[in-house]
Symmetry: D2
Amino acid sequence: MKSDILNIAVIGYGYWGPNLARNFFAAGANVAYVVDKDEKRLASAKRAYPMVEVTSDIDNALRDTNVDAVAIALPVSFHYQIARMALLADKHVLVEKPMTESRQSAEELIELALRKNKVIMCDHTFLYTGAVKKIHTLISENALGQLQYFDSIRINLGLFQNDVNVIWDLAPHDISILYYISGEQPVSVSAAGLSHTKNSIENIAYLSIFYQSNFIAHINVSWVSPVKIRRTMIGGKSKTIIYDDVEPTEKVKIYDSGYTVSNDEKNMFMVDYRVGDIYIPKLDTTEALKNMAQSFCDAVTKSIKPESDYSLALKVVTLLESAEKSLKNNGKEYKL
Amino acid sequence: MKSDILNIAVIGYGYWGPNLARNFFAAGANVAYVVDKDEKRLASAKRAYPMVEVTSDIDNALRDTNVDAVAIALPVSFHYQIARMALLADKHVLVEKPMTESRQSAEELIELALRKNKVIMCDHTFLYTGAVKKIHTLISENALGQLQYFDSIRINLGLFQNDVNVIWDLAPHDISILYYISGEQPVSVSAAGLSHTKNSIENIAYLSIFYQSNFIAHINVSWVSPVKIRRTMIGGKSKTIIYDDVEPTEKVKIYDSGYTVSNDEKNMFMVDYRVGDIYIPKLDTTEALKNMAQSFCDAVTKSIKPESDYSLALKVVTLLESAEKSLKNNGKEYKL
Amino acid sequence: MKSDILNIAVIGYGYWGPNLARNFFAAGANVAYVVDKDEKRLASAKRAYPMVEVTSDIDNALRDTNVDAVAIALPVSFHYQIARMALLADKHVLVEKPMTESRQSAEELIELALRKNKVIMCDHTFLYTGAVKKIHTLISENALGQLQYFDSIRINLGLFQNDVNVIWDLAPHDISILYYISGEQPVSVSAAGLSHTKNSIENIAYLSIFYQSNFIAHINVSWVSPVKIRRTMIGGKSKTIIYDDVEPTEKVKIYDSGYTVSNDEKNMFMVDYRVGDIYIPKLDTTEALKNMAQSFCDAVTKSIKPESDYSLALKVVTLLESAEKSLKNNGKEYKL
Amino acid sequence: MKSDILNIAVIGYGYWGPNLARNFFAAGANVAYVVDKDEKRLASAKRAYPMVEVTSDIDNALRDTNVDAVAIALPVSFHYQIARMALLADKHVLVEKPMTESRQSAEELIELALRKNKVIMCDHTFLYTGAVKKIHTLISENALGQLQYFDSIRINLGLFQNDVNVIWDLAPHDISILYYISGEQPVSVSAAGLSHTKNSIENIAYLSIFYQSNFIAHINVSWVSPVKIRRTMIGGKSKTIIYDDVEPTEKVKIYDSGYTVSNDEKNMFMVDYRVGDIYIPKLDTTEALKNMAQSFCDAVTKSIKPESDYSLALKVVTLLESAEKSLKNNGKEYKL
């Protein structure tokens, strides 16, 4: 770093780029460049931040030695190529989720970053929400008892992607949360799904993720639901969390309900149900993306390992790749 | 029939038997016998209906030539044996869902019933609810356009079964609805699930059901959720139904929302989203079980084919059997 | 009492009478008589409880010296007359809410009961629900801090009464809860309302109840709402309860949110808002009416003062009477 | 107007001023000045709109003959004084709700505006929401039948005002909607409320508004509720609207439920209940404030009467004034 504060080039100023720019400023970094092919978007960036350089040529940003890092907010199919260019130009890299389109390309990028001694990080924003941080803390403190299942629904109407299917688009959120809160590594995955469009890109998909222990994860994603649902259940032996991200305030509920299995004197199988209190904790309401931006800055300037580090991002891509293979084979199990 | 009204023996007077008895009376039939091994249950039946014969010996009911039909409300593992005895005793048979524990035994019962010229019917109660009847009508009238997906969640805390897993216990509801409303026959199934108890009976399961056309079905069942969810989405090309059975009154919502796919002049893939009105129809609130009882009586006395006829019941069992095989193989596709 | 268990005559077997009969049996009492003018209702009672005497002549029950008590489930306009007859016949009396149609008649009954040394009690069932018991306990333990407001909505479609308006029909629930949980006596009441029918009986009404301290209560009742709402907010200085009786399970929520008022150095008025955790306690799910029946039996046999004692019932009637006067004068304040 | 587009000075750049500025630009007007006493706010305005003049001296804006209109987003207690200054300086005036603190001052402003031939309009934003526009249309088309009641709750935690109580702060929303959708003029008002702070400014209040016909309105406002509720019921003889502004998408529901009153042959009072379909119309989602800004521009440049015109604003203030008097007298009816 040439200056005290981090200079960042935001690459891509469509839907997510403006959010990144705003939050890098909020986190105390400086957005030095905004790069986009679209002149209107550049004009919009200039209006919002008159001191920022706007350009349609990424090389202008990469050649500038004052630029410490790039933040890539482009379609997934560009991630590998642009991140590689940036690393080769000795920039730290933040890339939108998922990191790349394949395990191999993710591994290449990570290897290159390590060789160049640069940070590479993927923006799994949800890990920085008050809700997921609280869930992570609760599970770390063993508040739920041994984890038994993770069951997530992430469906709504909209945002069909042109380059990746609904698994690559929406499931990274759930998979990154899953890896973040569960210490255990999954063993295999089974997926199913369907495309209703001519381009054969699946808009509905279901993933089941298997583990060595008595834990299972399931993810239901769709671009074609008329209602928006973002609900994750995380069941433990003693308590269960229901995390409803659509709720404006009461997002995380902890249920002290469950069952106890026992054998009675005649060696019969018996289940006792227990309905207990529910607790809804107050959550940190800092904007998650600001926390993420701060985490990236801290990784670059202070070498603090981010929650959303490259190894988690690689695991996400690896699982996505296997899930897609399984989907193409109607649920056939693929080892991870 | 010896008399003008149907004489029925209710076999099993635990949780569901009393509901059957009450609704057979409501439908104008006569419950002549209640059979149960438990003396307390028989006493309870006698208190409720002093004129009913109560007995712990099923043969008393089967030998009585005044008895036209039996209604079997026993655990699944007894269905085949008791239904077979009843048919051999020349009784019409109503059996709780699922019909039997295997495709083969279901086929045997049906063959026997046909040979004996007796009705055999399975109590898929949901087909007789105001909600499912309305959905059936809407789809019959092509109100949704071509069907694209069916996605159901049926989870709550409770009622672990000792003889069958959660698929055999809860999924028959969804599968019977699925067959009832969709004319198309499924091609194969993939399932996953897990048991958290020593008896290895799965308490969580996920089914994906594949079709020849652009249609897919998915079913999520669990006995271990602290909240009760009963929600089915049925997506068509033009409209989508959300059927929430936990809602006291507004159970069926029809969303006129969706998307249109087109190619623009540059042959780019384009999706237009459309958010439209929502319509919540008034539903028939007659108790479903009364309708079902009436349907069984009509099948016996007037040879009217019931909505829940034996061929639907056989399909349900067939699908369950394949789903269980797939579950044991972590999602491997099984042809139907 | 001539026998060890209480012998009760249930007077009125329409909507509520059968519930009373069932719960008196559940509470260990004996329903000796069911009295009703309608032969069909008597036949229904006889079917349900073959050993019960059924009669259309109340004198049969009152003359029977084995009868210890009567439970009156008739329209409000009959309460005074029948309760008086029962007391004069030396019976203990349970009467549905509200106790009578006027303060004066309630006072007469109470005086008569005291003179006859008999229990008179009004069935304010809500005081015996798990939800209200929990709220009562929380407030007794000062969990909310000083009470600031009580705000209740009790609206739905239906059950127009012929003899009393919506205040006398629905507000007794809220007023009895209000008296039960708040130690303070109200000072005055203001009410407004309207009738949309030719009989001029109000089907919509709003009550504001004033107190000496910094506490206020408000009640909104209606027979003409297409949705059913039963929600009460009870605000304290430190916490607030929201009691939603339509919720199947999560009826009582305790919000640790609020505000703090302070004056800053410049003597400016400052308010700090605080959003905290929410807690949903497990509630006792015993049927409230069984608890009420038990409470009446205990009052008669063990002289245990019931939660819903006559002095509370009298206060309810007194407030209703003043509220109605205010309603007829478009909100004019009436002292209590 | 000196130029083709309207030049506006926004007076007050706290919470609402930035929204006004943004939406005047969106509506095609030009914000020429931002006036505020706070230097930080002015700097924020300058950052957002570099071409805008920012000043702490309102006279700079009022003296500029290029300025056609002012938009006043100050605390209520400043409305009269600043609006008067602006009118005297020959500017058109938009003022936040409520127009002024008293009926008299509102009448003075209107008289002055008429004399000066200037537009004076009050920003009753809700009249420009898709939801209220739809409700207005439905009622105009007599879709509900004769109106019977209007019942609104507007409560949440926060935003205690220093200069006006909760009636003046929150009830203008409901009262403006009430006047907009109902053609009938109210006759009188009864109100109750309470302050829990030393400054005696009421933070809880209830209003009942009486009409000549069989219609009644009720408004429940509070700054001290831990949950945010914004729900209005509008009942008609044939249908009822429930407008829930907290709902993200399904804000307006139309219930085809109700009751029919009849006299049977014995001249008994009979009520038949009817539960029908529910319909949730798609709403215009244009930002209401942009519509309001457009309406003000159209009033100035094209003399089109706005939905939220001065006579409606005056009625709102008049009702507020009487409601406050009633509140100070515990519900005493005040004629309008």
